[in-house]
Symmetry: C2
Subunit: 279 residues, 2 copies
Amino acid sequence: MTLETVSTNKSFGGVQGVYRHRSAQTGTEMTFSVFVPGHAPGARLPVLWYLSGLTCTHANVTEKGEFRAACAEHGVIFVAPDTSPRGDDVPDDEAYDFGKGAGFYVDATQEPWAKNFRMRSYIEQELAELVAANFPVDMDRQGITGHSMGGHGALTIGLRNAGRFRSVSAFSPIVSPLSCPWGDKALTGYIGSDRANWREYDACALIEDGARLPDLLVDQGTADGFLEEQLRTDLLAQACEKAGQPATIRMQEGYDHSYYFISTFMAEHVAWHAERLKA
Amino acid sequence: MTLETVSTNKSFGGVQGVYRHRSAQTGTEMTFSVFVPGHAPGARLPVLWYLSGLTCTHANVTEKGEFRAACAEHGVIFVAPDTSPRGDDVPDDEAYDFGKGAGFYVDATQEPWAKNFRMRSYIEQELAELVAANFPVDMDRQGITGHSMGGHGALTIGLRNAGRFRSVSAFSPIVSPLSCPWGDKALTGYIGSDRANWREYDACALIEDGARLPDLLVDQGTADGFLEEQLRTDLLAQACEKAGQPATIRMQEGYDHSYYFISTFMAEHVAWHAERLKA
């Protein structure tokens, strides 16, 4: 697996890089970003994965996420993948919430998506191996977070891989694709209409079915226009309560769905992960 | 002067807004952004002006500048204007360094620019009055900073208006339009070929001609591709040295011209201004 460097910029004493590689999972070129803080020669640093939301690429959080100051302070590597395969040969949908930019972190089983839309295996396997091989990461100290569709990705990947991720948090996550229009459309399209197959892609269902994490941090803005219909933070709170899953779910007064919200609480999330990854 | 609100987003406990108004100076609609930190009712806060560089609008620093955490901490309002008039009726040049996005903070005297390209008077007068009338600012406590062409703007506007601005800093400024290709092209085009008229738009010449500030903070990346030919930090250091103008000019090893550089040192600049504005 060869890695092409698209760009590097010194920032906060470290290096913000953007990289491209040919993915076996998606059959396409994939682009992602990595911030590596300044560190002692030979050191291996904990790594925080950030999964982005609908319509985003690696670039949104890389430019607007305001994570570098905190990652530099705590010595944490920050990896931001794309949200779907890209390219002229990749099937797409004209809507913003399906197809390119909307991979939902699943392995699609339905046509024409099954060939390229393998974002679950891409994140869980291929990109993890690529990052481990090319950056000074300590793969025994991994955390994961994300926003909206990427919050769904972080929660579900985290819950399914509790051994790999020591810390899991999310910003305004879609907590239950089984219970919202975005999820209904995407999972029907990618996975098919048998909703039993959706449970491994639904944070609430995973918790109901017994998946557990040591704890969980979620921030959700009360002025987020997607809260009531799509995000349904209440369902996650109920699932955690019922299952005895420890969780800190914070409703943040007046904040919306944008990076103005995410950046406000980013440093707290990085510190929260760092505390667990360095313990 | 009526102000139209384009957007507001809660961020870092304050409000990041974008506003539009009809400008008498430029004869166009102008857009700018203002961050107002959370504050006690009736309080008036110090204000930091940020002037952007070539090709930028208000949006670049608003999205990538990472100033809000520091402005919230220190209680400083942050204003980011556009870099030129905009619109189909405004003359333009196909190059990135002249015309739209490249107002150079001058009042143009040459045709076809003279009618619209009045960014000096726009910043020094019109926008100042508009901000004073519409936001909880204490106009007795103003600082100014900027990047590249906007660093040039901050230094020259600051030097010409030392009574208005208590604190002046810059990121990778163009320090002498008289001594670089960008300046030569822009000032010839906007002001004409009589270089004596350029001196009020040249930070080094203003200092030579007697303008003084209490002090000055400049950060400049050593890996900035524009340093040697366009920015010429050395000329500012020489002018300050010769004139006895106190200045802290920091050459930052390995940093380039991008917002990855600016954001790294933004919190230090905000703190530096706050210290002087709150003294």
